[in-house]
Amino acid sequence: MQLVFNKPESLTVNPFTYCPGCSHGIAHRLVGEVIDEMQLREKIVGVSTIGCSVRCWRNFDFDIVQGAHGRGMAVATGLKRALPDQVIFTYQGDGDLAAIGMGETIHAAVRGEAITVVFINNAVFGATGGQLAPTTLPGQWTSTYPKGRDVSWTGSPINMSEILAGLPATTYIAREALTTPKNVLRAKKYMRKAFEAQTLHGGFGLVELLGSCPVNLKLKPVEALNWVEKNMIPQYPLGEFKDTGKEAAS
């Protein structure tokens, strides 16, 4: 018998420290697989940002720079300008990328920085215990709005992929959900294209991955993914929003 599925090379042997069923684990593995397949391990620098995944450097087996909360894309900008021949990516949660980091996110996209962004949207601040995120759904329970998100008080969820796709300088933007094997495999394809936006087209690529934070949803892992399917996808439609690389090629 042959080994047909195993840990990617670009991951260390350290176990993940996430909660049972947390989507960060799947997302990490996909990053490792894509980097393996694109043979980027030795020329990549990852930017770890602040959220549950802040210590992803325990698991990613390549150079990592960990910056301040929300400043992932600014750190990546500094890295990319300093290392134009290397491949730079950020791994960011919705709190990091869309709450405190909104300014840096929009401006990096406006500049069309040649970086890749892996954006984990789990509709909540996981690391700090389940507070409102910019992507929290209307009515969704959070520890800071225990009666559910009231859009008249806190506004509606932000669809970052759509906003970023609307900016002229972005190259590739797509969204997938880590809910089923099929989706996970498609997420990997999109992630690869988000890296290729950088490596082939010198542009800004982003893949938004809808995932679950079972602990803060107070659901079992399986139910939590069902919740993502049922509630998040309607708010956050899946698909490729922008692929100017393709346009350029065709």
Partner: protein
Amino acid sequence: MMKGNEAIGEAAIRAGCRFYFGYPITPQNELLEYMARKLPEVGGCFLQSESELAGASMLYGAAAAGKRVMTSSSSPGISLMQETVSYLASAELPAVIVNISRGSPGLGRITPAQSDYNQATKGGGHGDYNILVFAPASVQEMMDLTMLAYELSDQYRIPAMILGDGIVGQMMESVVLPEPVETIPEKSWAACGCQGRERNLVISAPFTDEDLIDLNRRLQEKYRVIIEREQRAEMIHTEDAEFIFVAFGIVSRLAHSVVDSLREKGCKVGMIRPQTLWPFPDDAFNRIPRAKGVLVVEMNEGQMLIDVRLALNGRVPVRHYGRGGGWVPSPDSIEAEMLKLMEEVEKNAVSL
């Protein structure tokens, strides 16, 4: 002749800095604009950031890649960078930050001030950390101390700050241009792709509680070495001086003119001029054998005063002359304050 702000930029380029990120603010825009003009000419990167926060994080990124980097701002913008400064310190990244500070607090005004001394030297950000702080008093020193800042920042893996004010920043003076640095030390720790080596991590979030305490221990050991080796101060007539000014930056030049004029009148005055504010030149205060009184003159409400008092620990009476918010002392008023101190000390000496 060159403007002080431009001299910093020129020195940075000569020190091998090729990456500048920053956001406009008066009175340091000449530096930003100098880098904007000159860096592209030497194949460097000038990027105007969308804010000081972003600029500081870009700096952090490029520093992590092992490059010599600079950002600059003025007081409110520097306050915005405090979180990142703490990160730079904890990730042990070399980087040079320039604060051409201004009349404060709040938005304040663009008048000269030295009111960010505490922020720079005692850690405006969170945690137990220090950064090198240099206090140039002339355009020449803007260059020389910037060169030194890059050298020491790399050597100790510690962020460094040039702390100036609008006067040294905006004035022109002739300068001798320093030789460009030929080779920048290798940075084996830099995160720039792990080809042919183990991966490098530039992080500010240790894995265990013990790791964080260890980091602090290591930082403190480094700081102790720096305190021992890197104090710098100019000593002016201190061998025989009975009354001593302590002043830094532009104020030291005003005070120096008073030293001259009081010496002409036969008064035994001298001056300690700290060139490094952190490490503070404590040792200099052990080399004022005849001191009977010390007058700290600064453009703030008494910040370096604290370090002077700590250095002297009650051995010599210390007075302060200063105000915040963009006030500049005149040489006449400095002289008057010193005469007052002299009188006071002599009177007390009699009454003892």
